[in-house]
């Protein structure tokens, strides 16, 4: 009787311990996932800001660049695409935003040929805002990638992979760095 009680108690304790462990693991995964979501929110703010700036930019650029219709239209099209991707489909959004970055870069490359446009005070202000937004996106993306890598590694490792599978934690997409990004510099003193 006493032995049975002991076994039963042991069994109960094991169950409780297991539940506590799983709950702890689950909570830590939720925490990590929230951090990834926060990091994404930071990017999101900047992406929205970029969407808001582009119509003004095109408006000002139009005055000086009548012969660059295609470049301007490409930017507008890329922006519309980026806005219309559903907010939940991260992978698609990442793709669309990267494409928008490319078209913007080519727009600024073309604008170099128009000194009057470059000297326009409104253009200067818009350009500065866009450059800053691009930088902020880049930094926020670094932050997002760091958090996501941490999360993705965690849900792939034993025993977290079991819990992640049980509660349907899925891997998050990473932002691919594009070629234009600045390379890390080696420092030797």
């Amino acid at each position: 009787m006493a032995i049975l009680m002991g076994v039963f108690l042991l069994f109960l304790l094991t169950i409780v311990a297991l539940v506590v462990l799983v709950a702890g693991a689950y909570n830590s995964l939720v925490q990590l996932r929230n951090r990834v979501k926060n990091a994404w929110a930071q990017i999101d703010v900047q992406l929205k800001r970029r969407h808001d700036l582009i119509p003004n930019l095109v408006e000002v650029a139009k005055k000086y660049m009548q012969h660059e219709r295609e470049t301007l239209e490409a930017v507008i099209k890329a922006r519309t695409q980026a806005i219309n991707v559903s907010a939940d489909n991260l992978e698609e959004r990442v793709k669309a935003e990267n494409f928008l970055s490319q078209t913007l870069r080519s727009l600024f490359a073309v604008a170099e040929r128009y000194p009057n446009l470059k000297a326009d005070a409104q253009m200067m202000r818009l350009h500065e805002e866009l450059v800053s937004t691009e930088n902020k996106i880049a930094f926020a993306r670094q932050f997002y990638n760091d958090e996501t890598t941490l999360y993705n590694t965690k849900i792939e490792m034993f025993p977290m992979n079991i819990i992640a599978g049980m509660f349907n934690f899925q891997k998050m997409p990473l932002f691919e760095a594009d070629e234009e990004e600045r390379k890390e510099v080696k420092i030797e003193f």
Binding site: K118, D120, Q122, M124, S132, K136, F139, F143, E184, I187
Partner: protein, 638 residues
């Protein structure tokens, strides 16, 4: 890269603790030396005829065998703790010493700096960074941080005007490097403590002067009256005061140098480290090298910051420009908070893989090309409908004929007349009528043209507004009277300009900013105009002969003029006709009350052209030309 915050915090704590230990040591030594010296001097002074060994014996006894020694030690420890804590919360005090101000969001150059700080906030995860602008025209930047963790990063107007965005990013990266490596708190505290020593030196000097003055007056009194019955103790009391003052002065001097040396020794490497971190953060060593080169080349200009104790906080110490090159003596490098800037440049250039000379040639060539490519567009209106900048047409108003150049011309509206700069004795007549009169005989026209406006009754309503160049306030053109001034961009500065006559209203600070920046190009007309004004200065040298006077009455100041008239005071504040300065005889209108300056069309460009030409001729920077102007706004006699 991501930053390891625990690591940063640990380093910071170590530095701060080290500073406390150093502080206690220096306070204890300093207190004992001071007390010893004061006791010694006092004993000698009061006990005339006492032998030296006996005095020393007495002082030793007082200091080491009574409670006094313990008290001095206690006082030193307590005071070092107090000053350590105080200095840890002294951010406000230090920042206020620089006369810095928050960036103006409307200023294009300021906005860029604010943006860079925002980017750094995202990159580092550190949120409480406050951007500041210093009025200094030199290229420099500083950072400080106190115990509350709040960080201030500031740059000078000169840095904003002369550095490219990438270079500014590198400079801000350098400042963030100080934050990352945790040395900024110590440097901030050190600067705060140094300013205490500076104050002590002043007190000592004051006592010395007071004592000496007392001796002098006592002596002169004795000489005059040949009285000897003045108590001897009084003279010795004065002598002691002077001596104690001298001792305090010398000791605080030595003491501050000792501390200075200690701090430079423990933080010898911190500038190199911040440069390295800047490269890691911004990933652009060439821009950092270029910024350092520009700092080195621009170091000859005049400094506006007066307190030397804060030099260690800057990217390049503003007070030791002569120690820019390597190879200075050991004594010099002991007292220098920064390593020679040429050493820093060569290290950064090494990382970037370029030679400093090559980079310098590049910068010079670039600056030349930039000047040639300057745009001709000066004033650019930022059409903002909210501000009511729309042109107002006065329909149905009376129209007038004007007798000009021996013929009747017109008809003109009152608004149009106001732009023509007519003197009050001009003949006028109503359109379609015969009888003519002078402007000055017609109160309605006097009202409309010169000063007293029809808006007097609503002047009281505006009373709550701030008097400033604020774009939100409705300000009317002083020349066109009923045309609202509108927001415009000139050299990145947000100015108020008239869309009708293209005049610009400016205060001195913003004018100086405009003169520093070099975006606007000059047309041939502007160049000729400027050269003509230069030649006038050369021919006569007498200021009332230098410029043709605009024959028109003074304007009422558009900001404070009407208001004073309507609401509170009986006087109208006028804008006086002045030449800008003796050597720059551009005619401007300056308000006698608020000092705002009105530039008619082209006058701002001419002034800018003349400043740059003068700077080029003298081989100095524009800011040096500005600093050498004795007086702004000179009347031309009469």
């Amino acid at each position: 890269m991501r930053f390891n915050f625990l690591e940063i915090k640990r380093k910071k704590d170590r530095y701060v603790f080290l500073l406390l230990l150093l502080l206690m040591l220096s306070y204890t030594v300093g207190f004992f030396v001071t007390t010893y010296a004061v006791l010694f001097v006092a004993r000698i002074g009061f006990m005339s005829g006492a032998s030296f060994p006996s005095v020393i014996r007495w002082v030793n006894h007082q200091l080491f065998h009574t409670r006094l020694g313990l008290q001095v030690l206690l006082a030193a420890v307590v005071l070092s703790l107090v000053s350590w804590l105080l200095s840890g919360f002294s951010l406000r005090h230090i920042v206020s010493m620089f006369k810095g101000y928050p960036p103006e969001p409307d200023d294009r150059y300021h906005k860029q700096f604010v943006n860079i700080i925002d980017e750094v906030k995202i990159a580092s995860g550190i949120k409480n960074i406050e951007p500041r602008i210093l009025p200094d025209t030199d290229i420099n930047a500083f950072t400080c941080q106190d115990f509350s963790g709040k960080i201030v990063i500031g740059v000078t107007e000169g840095a904003l005007a002369k550095l490219t965005r990438h270079e500014l990013e590198a400079v801000v990266g350098h400042e963030m490097g100080h934050v990352m490596s945790g040395d900024v708190v110590t440097t901030t505290m050190f600067s705060a403590i140094m300013s205490v020593y500076a104050a002590m030196k002043e007190v000592g000097l004051g006592m010395l002067k007071l004592g000496l003055a007392g001796v002098y007056s006592y002596r002169s009194a004795r000489d005059r009256d040949s009285r000897v019955n003045i108590r001897a103790s009084r003279s010795s009391g004065i002598n002691v005061l002077a001596l104690i003052g001298l001792v305090v002065f010398i000791i605080s001097l030595l003491w501050s140098y000792l501390n200075y040396m200690l701090i430079t020794l423990i933080s010898r490497q911190r500038e190199y480290r911040a440069d390295a971190l800047a490269i890691k953060i911004v990933r652009d060593p060439i821009s950092l090298a270029r910024a350092l080169l520009k700092i080195k080349n621009g170091h000859k200009s005049v400094k506006l910051i007066t307190d030397k104790t804060v030099g260690a906080l800057f990217i390049s110490n503003p007070f030791t420009p002569e120690r820019l090159s390597s190879g200075s003596s050991l004594a010099e490098s002991l007292f220098n908070t920064h390593p020679p800037i040429t050493d820093r440049i060569s290290i950064v250039c090494n990382i970037a893989g370029v030679s400093p000379d090559e980079l310098e040639r590049q910068i010079i060539a670039e600056e030349k090309a930039k000047i040639e490519a300057r745009s001709k567009t000066g004033l650019i209106f930022l059409g903002d409908k909210e501000d009511g900048a729309d042109f107002q047409v006065d329909s149905g108003a009376d129209r007038w004929m004007v007798f000009l150049d021996s013929a009747w011309r017109g008809p003109f509206t009152v608004k149009e007349l106001a732009t023509m700069g007519l003197p009050p004795d001009t003949f006028i007549k109503r359109e379609g009528e015969e009888g003519h009169s002078m402007i000055q005989d017609n109160p309605e026209l006097m009202m409309g043209l010169f000063g007293v406006s029809a808006r007097v009754e609503d002047a009281g309503a505006q009373d709550g507004d701030e008097v400033s160049g604020n774009a939100k306030k409705q300000v009317y053109c002083p020349r066109c009277r009923d045309v609202l001034l509108s927001r415009a961009d000139y050299e990145g500065v947000l100015v108020l300009a008239c869309p009708n006559c293209f005049g610009v209203l400016l205060d001195r600070d913003h004018l100086k900013k405009i003169l520093l920046r070099k975006e606007v190009g000059f047309s041939d007309d502007i160049r000729q105009w400027g050269d003509k004004l230069f030649s006038m200065v050369e021919i006569s040298g007498k200021r009332y002969e230098i410029a043709p006077i605009k024959r028109e009455p003074s304007f009422v100041c558009p900001v404070c003029g009407d208001r004073k008239f309507g609401a509170k005071q009986e006087t109208i504040s006028m804008m006086y006709k002045r030449v800008f300065a003796k050597k720059f005889p551009v005619q401007v209108d300056i308000c006698g009350l608020c000092g705002l300056i009105w530039f008619d069309k082209g006058e701002l460009e001419v002034l800018q052209y003349m400043f740059e030409k003068k700077a080029e001729e003298m081989g100095v920077s524009v800011e040096e030309v500005w600093n050498n102007i004795p007086e702004i706004g000179i009347s031309w006699g009469g």
